[in-house]
């Protein structure tokens, strides 16, 4: 039963969800899973990925599309956004004269500025998402109710979230500065945007998740909407064979023990909504996304 204040109900009020976490924990899988849930619930859902490998496309069973918006299921669309292209588009948009625009695009100042300026690319991606949400979509494509961003893994997870504010602080005027300020305000508005952190039940991902939650609180005065512990070994049965009797069981036992103690550490440090998802014997792809979305739905509706 879905209750008024279930986590799922809360998530469906948001316009932007940023999915973040350490590399290899299943961010793209869970971005797809969340997308499936929202689309099934009747919301026009856009998934955005920045990684050029276009993993989201693979997970949803469509070939890489190089930046086109692809419909993968009713109300569910996916797009790869290349930050550099957005910045170049911005230059073309502001400079009406072609020869000047191409001069700017070719100039080393532009190249190094856009490559090196901290936070600029991230702010540009969020800027593009904001435009999508405001109805600037290609002809025939509906305005999304919600955009889910599969944020790239970085050493410091908070850097994606803090990027826009950083740019806004440094660039106080001009179109880039205005865009960054607008994005920063949007990301701070917890009625409109939220963060979902993905981890596994292992030491390093849990450690990074706790550090991310901490720096979100300190630097951004924000907290994630939800933490998802992914790829957990199954819970242990009541009957436990003696150690050494069954090596397969022993490995299951010790890996699940690690999951349990790390989940406990996560729970104590986080104190917020936590969903748990199992490792499933299915290769990454639409079948896995479908199965996991049923698991996640159950987790989110019961609340934790």
């Amino acid at each position: 039963m879905q209750t008024e204040n279930s986590i799922f109900a809360r998530l469906t009020e948001l316009k932007l969800i940023v999915v973040t976490g350490k590399g290899g924990v299943g961010k793209s899988t869970l971005t797809s899973v969340l997308g499936r849930l929202f689309a099934d619930a009747g919301r026009q859902t856009f998934l955005v990925e920045v990684d050029p490998r276009e993993n989201l496309h693979q997970l949803l069973g469509v070939p890489p599309s190089g930046g086109d918006i692809v419909e993968v299921a009713p109300r569910l669309r996916v797009q790869h956004i290349e930050p550099r292209t957005i910045l170049d588009d911005l230059v073309r948009e502001k400079l009406k004269v072609d020869v000047v625009a191409s001069k700017v695009l070719a100039s080393p100042v532009h190249k190094h500025f856009t490559e090196g300026a901290p936070g600029l690319k991230e702010a540009a991606v969020f800027g593009r998402i904001l435009r999508l949400l405001r109805g600037h979509t290609p002809r025939g494509i509906p305005t999304p109710d919600v955009v889910i961003l599969d944020a790239p893994a970085t050493g410091h997870g908070v850097s994606w979230l803090a990027a826009a504010q950083l740019v806004a602080d440094v660039i106080s005027s001009g179109p880039i500065g205005h865009l960054a300020a607008e994005v920063a305000a949007f990301l701070k508005d917890n009625q409109q945007s939220g963060v979902v952190v993905i981890t596994t039940g292992e030491e390093m991902p849990v450690q990074e998740t706790l550090e991310l939650i901490h720096s979100m609180r300190i630097r951004l005065n924000q907290a994630p909407e939800l933490v998802i512990a992914n790829a957990l070994y199954p819970t242990l049965p009541p009957e436990i064979p003696a150690e050494g009797e069954d090596p397969l069981f022993d490995l299951w036992y010790s890996r699940r023990q690690i999951n349990d103690s790390e989940l406990e550490r996560l729970d104590e440090g986080w104190l917020g909504p936590l969903a748990e998802l199992p490792i499933l014997p299915i290769e990454p792809g639409p079948a896995l996304v479908g199965r996991l979305s049923r698991y996640l739905k159950r987790e989110l509706e019961t609340g934790s």
């Binding site: 350490k22 590399g23 290899g24 490998r53 230059v91 502001k94 400079l95 004269v97 000047v100 001069k103 700017v104 100039s107 080393p108 100042v109 532009h110 190249k111 190094h112 500025f113 490559e115 090196g116 901290p118 936070g119 790239p152 893994a153 970085t154 050493g155 950083l166 440094v170 660039i171 106080s172 005027s173 001009g174 179109p175 880039i176 500065g177 292992e202 030491e203 390093m204 991902p205 450690q207 070994y233 199954p234 242990l236 049965p237 069954d246 090596p247 397969l248 069981f249 022993d250 490995l251 299951w252 010790s254 890996r255 699940r256 690690i258 490792i279 499933l280 014997p281 290769e283 990454p284």
Partner: protein
Amino acid sequence: MNPSDHPLVIVVGAGGVGKTTLAAALALNQAQHGDDTLVMTFDPSLRLKDTLGIHEGEESDEVKVADYDDGSLTASLLDARRTFDRLIDRYAPDEEARRRILTNRFYDHLSGSLAGVLEYMASERLFEISQSGRFGRIVLDTPPTRQALDFLGAPERIVGFLESGALRIALKPWFDARGRFRATAKFGIIGRNVESFFDRMVGLELLRDMAEFFQAFAPLFDGFRERALEVQELLRSSDTLFMLVSAPGPQRVADTLFFARRLKEAGYNLGPVVVNRLHPHLGNDSKAGLPTVGSDQDGRRLLQWLAHRDAQGAAHLRDLLGKSHPVVELELRPDEPTDVQALAQLGDQLRKGIEDNLG
């Protein structure tokens, strides 16, 4: 191909594959075989940090972990900001230049978040220590990066940046003595358009900050540039061997292969490829077909399925790379190896795996 034949071993791979643990295990093993070994690491788990005795913000950044009759292990935790500060201390021509850089508000952003700075700092520090000749062997763990090759590209990017026109433009006196923007005619009409465009796009304030930063940094650039080139030379020399670590499973093969190719194409010396943390074949499971899993709650069957999947991935990688590189498979253990004894065991397995697979 054998890390034991190279004074410098660099452990690379995507985030979360176990680079740090393997770097520590390899270094410990080298120490036990008689080398004075240093392991330089970025982001160890809390327990591994305890084992190595390294912690952030300590006075000394090198800690002696183990001393054998012959050989020893020292660990060092890399900190980008501290290395950056040290670099400026060394290259800044005088106290005034140093102060101007450290107080520029760009410096804070740059030292923390500029793409490649952490990576560059790692190779910088590596060069410094390797030149000192204090260690017979150095094992370097690499930072988690989005694109795992960022680390290697960093010195070249810095040189590229220093040689590009960006610096010359930034160093032009854009502002007059009263801090007002000075339009220049050097670039003709297009040049003025470009400049006025940047002015409109990002505002004068940012340009002023950047110009000031680059001007403050200018005296350092020559030393920096020279050093970046030397670092690059060291990374490509025959003394240096790369060990590539991959997670198991068929879906990782493409990434690992891509990484291996990029390394070789760029002229780096790729040695062993380690497939880490494979689910082992245990019990009476047959290696013939893929086991079917009845219930999601059946952990035994799940582990068999995972063992089968991981073996397929490793076999595929061996087909593709096994002829030219030792492909070493390391099994998932009941617990992560963090104490000295477990690291030593893992180090032995790694050594044996490499020796067994050397053609």
